[in-house]
Subunit: 154 residues, 2 copies
């Protein structure tokens, strides 16, 4: 397995993964062609990415196939003595390759990239109903120390 | 009270607020002059800010005094049909002006700015030990739907 950042041509494969999920199947719209909103969002991510502080999708590749993905966002901030944080979102592994520790390797790769960019903290939120996911992340060393609060604006 | 984005000259006032807090008092280093790390972090925030997608501190001002602050970060992403998110961090109100609903007004201002920039979701994490904060945010309409997971890399 190899890892690389996503480019625009990977969008259909990424949205397919995002939609292949209990929550994602109602939240996403995986059509051919993809809704323009996904391309606009990709361009917005690129517009706020720098080499030092990316906001990009990291892909797990098996040959030419995208078998896993996560969004990795480096966020500069003042708190904790100006500590750089890495934030993860949209973690998915193809249902075709479950049980091969691809999720674990992808998270480890994101931690490794975050360290190399100077981050001292990796964070994300996960829906409280995803109990299996919590056990998975706790095994990898994450601590559920915070409440993740959300407000939809629609 | 007025609101504006912070500039470099506001850093001592912001770090004073970050440090005037149960968690912050051990995490921050409010000295004169400030540690360079805060200035470097401010410059990093500026480097990843665009007009459309800021990563900036929003300040509540009483005349020339900074009486409250929060970090507001707009994060483009693919999930939820390419939904733009706003993220809050480092919310503080000066202990000199508690009870004047400054925290509430500052959060409302951040929501208003987020909406105007096209965000459909506002999110943040708050330490599970901050029970009073949770009630405050739930009153404002936030839902503690997620686990906030963290891993320190040091």
């Amino acid at each position: 397995m190899t890892f690389r950042y996503a480019n625009r041509a990977d969008l259909p494969a990424i949205v397919a993964l995002l939609a292949d999920d209990e929550k994602g199947k109602t939240r996403e719209e995986f059509t051919d062609p993809l809704p323009d909103a996904y391309y606009a969002a990709f361009d917005a991510m690129e517009s706020q990415s720098t080499e030092a502080l990316p906001n990009k999708y990291l892909l797990a590749m098996s040959g030419d196939d995208v078998v896993g993905c996560l969004q990795l966002t480096l966020i500069a901030g003042l708190s904790r003595r100006g500590q750089l944080r890495a934030q993860i979102e949209g973690v998915r592994v193809s249902s075709k390759v479950r049980g091969q520790k691809i999720g674990e390797k992808l998270i480890e790769q994101s931690i490794s990239v975050s360290k190399s960019l100077g981050a001292h903290l990796v964070q994300f939120t996960t829906d409280k109903t995803r109990k299996d996911a919590h056990r998975f992340y706790e095994r990898l060393g994450f601590v559920a120390s915070h409440e993740g609060m959300k407000m939809t604006l629609d």
